[in-house]
Every structure is written in structure tokens, then in C-alpha cells.
């Protein structure tokens, strides 16, 4: 097996049959923004803007490094953004401007 072959034969999200350590029965309370992100996913699916299948492929398309380093809902929102760019429903410029605007609302001086 070459050093890269395993990257081709198994998607970064594909876990079935791999070795894994003991199961830690961890749980956490979902943060408000995580719930909103999930609600957004459901609404996008209802509107046939991004299906569950497209979302999964969008997460896979982030590549193994991002899949590993981002948290669950961070992966979702980044995948949504990439898909919305592809579908030309959003542009990177619009998103950057809106993110600046949202951040400014939380600046102590900006109010």
C-alpha cells in the first residue's frame, strides 16, 4: 500500500470497521448556536436547498484535516457555506461583509 492509498479508499468520515478505543459515554448540552445550526439544516432540507446527502458530501469535501479539527457543527456550517457558494445563493463577499456586521454588534464600543 502506498502512503496515500488509504486516503483514496476511505473517505475522511468513513469509520465503519476501523479500530477505535473504548467508548466514552460522553454527552454535552447543545449550545444555542449548535441548535440553530441544526434547525438551519432542517429548514434548508425542507426548501430543497441543501439535502442531508449534500450536507454529508459537503462535510467530506472539507478534507481530512478540517474534518478532524473542526467540531461537529463547525463542520456543518462551513459545509453549508461552501455549498451555498457553489449554488450561487451566496457570494464570499456578501458573507464576509455580513460576518463583519454581526461581529460589530458584539463589540463593546459599537454596541
Amino acid at each position: 500500500m502506498t502512503q496515500t492509498e488509504h486516503l483514496l479508499t476511505r473517505l475522511p468520515t468513513e469509520m465503519g470497521g476501523l479500530d477505535g478505543g473504548p467508548i466514552q459515554r460522553v454527552e454535552h448540552e447543545y449550545a444555542p448556536w449548535e441548535k440553530r445550526c441544526h434547525a438551519l439544516a432542517n429548514v434548508l432540507d425542507i426548501h430543497k436547498i441543501i439535502s442531508t446527502e449534500e450536507k454529508r458530501r459537503g462535510v467530506e469535501a472539507l478534507g481530512s484535516e478540517l474534518v478532524e479539527k473542526l467540531t461537529y457543527y463547525q463542520r456543518w456550517i462551513v459545509a453549508f457555506v461552501n455549498i451555498l457558494f457553489e449554488k450561487e445563493l451566496l457570494t464570499p463577499e456578501e458573507l464576509a461583509r455580513k460576518m463583519d456586521e454581526v461581529a460589530a454588534r458584539h463589540e463593546p464600543s459599537g454596541g
Binding site: L11, T13, E14, M15, G16, G17, L18, D19, G20, G21, P22, I23, Q24, R25, V26, E27, H28, Y30, A31, P32, W33, K35, R36, C37, H38, A39, L40, N42, V43, L44, D45, I46, H47, I49, S51, T52, E53, R56, V59, L70, T71, Y72, Y73, Q74, I77, V78, F80, V81, L84, L89, L90, E94, L95, K98, M99, E101, V102, A103, H106, E107
Partner: protein, 214 residues
């Protein structure tokens, strides 16, 4: 209060602290989609309200009803989604629901090896361990060992069936009704059905202290 009454109210956040980069991204995407009329202004809030009603308690009621009502149980096993839609439980996604019945001969356990597919319409959001590598990786390879880690020992003569969820098909385990519950009400029975029993990692059981007090 109707959903429309507060459709335009700001959606509450954790606090005034500067949100993370990804939280800002979520807010920005949501607001842009509303501005472009791709989604309605109140839809996310309404969806959050619906999601808050979808907890394992809903699944527990369904299981208890299947235990006491053979006709309902038969319909549920034949077509999970249509049977639940008859009860007014709508589905958010284009998915089917297959209900897997545990018997003396078969124990079912559900996993999603690719991502985190889960019957969210009736159990709510999945626990973190369901989404993490050890459970997803090992359940299809060594289910008995995984079950043992949950304290569930399955005799060797009982077949274990592992169902791997997809974006199109979700699974709900119908656990076996515990013994000595013949005279229990549907509501009492529902209290025995945990989320983990409906994933299949544990059995439905009478808690020890309840058993002693009866």
C-alpha cells in the same frame, strides 16, 4: 403564543460575549438567506420549537404503545414513517423509518458509520458518543464487545443485528417488554424505555429500586 407572534424577535444567544468565528458565520448565513427570501424570517425559530418537542420521551411513548397495542405494533413494523405520521409526527427530512423488533432470538443495535444519521424526529439530537469514532468504528465489527461496554451482555445464542443508518433510512429499536409488567399502564411502561434502549445499546428494564418497592 403563536409562532408568528415572535417570528421577528431576535433569537436568544448564550450571552453578550463575543461569539466564536463559526457562531458568527451561522448568524450571517441565516440572516443572508432570510434577506434573500430563500428561507422565511420565522422558520428557524419555528423549527427550533418543533425540535424542542422531539425528545426520547416521544420514542418511549411509541414503544409503550407498541407493547400494549398489537395492531399498532404491526403497522409500526410494516411502515414506521407512515404510522408515526398518522399520529401527527411529521418528518423534517426525506427519510424512511424502519422499526427493528428485539426478540428472544434477535438483538438489534443501530449505528451510523458514515456520519450521525439518527431518528431525530422521535429521539431528538443524538448523544455525542453516537457521533464519535469508537462507537461508529467498532459497532459493525465487534458489536458484542461494544454492547458489553454498555453493560449489555447478549447470550451467544442470540443473533445480533447491526443496522447502519443512511440519509435515506433511519432505525428505531423496539426493545423487548420487561417481564412482570403485565398490569402496568402505558405511561408506566413508557418510563422504562430509555433513549439508549431505542438505540439498542441497552435493554428496557425495570430499575432495581422500582422492582423492590412494588
Amino acid at each position: 403564543m403563536s409562532s408568528d407572534a415572535h417570528a421577528h424577535a431576535p433569537i436568544p444567544d448564550a450571552g453578550d460575549a463575543m461569539p466564536s468565528y463559526y457562531e458568527i458565520m451561522e448568524t450571517a448565513v441565516r440572516e443572508l438567506l432570510v434577506e434573500k427570501n430563500a428561507i422565511g424570517a420565522g422558520e428557524i425559530r419555528q423549527m427550533l420549537e418543533v425540535m424542542d418537542t422531539r425528545t426520547p420521551a416521544l420514542g418511549s411513548q411509541i414503544v409503550a404503545r407498541a407493547w400494549v397495542d398489537p395492531a399498532f405494533r404491526a403497522r409500526l413494523l410494516a411502515n414506521g414513517r407512515a404510522t408515526l405520521e398518522e399520529l401527527g409526527i411529521d418528518f423534517f427530512e426525506n427519510t424512511q423509518l424502519t422499526v427493528l423488533e428485539n426478540t428472544d432470538k434477535v438483538h438489534n443495535i443501530v449505528v451510523c458509520t458514515l456520519c450521525s444519521c439518527y431518528p431525530r424526529e422521535i429521539l431528538g439530537l443524538p448523544p455525542d458518543w453516537y457521533k464519535l469514532k469508537p462507537y461508529r468504528a467498532r459497532t459493525v465489527k465487534e458489536p458484542r464487545a461494544v454492547l458489553a461496554e454498555f453493560g449489555t451482555l447478549i447470550p451467544d445464542d442470540v443473533e445480533i443485528r447491526v443496522s447502519d443508518s443512511t440519509s435515506m433510512v433511519r432505525f428505531l429499536v423496539l426493545p423487548q417488554r420487561p417481564q412482570n409488567t403485565e398490569n402496568w399502564s402505558e405511561e408506566q411502561l413508557a418510563s422504562l424505555v430509555t433513549r439508549d434502549a431505542m438505540i439498542g445499546v441497552v435493554r428496557a428494564a425495570i430499575p432495581e429500586k422500582t422492582e423492590k418497592s412494588r
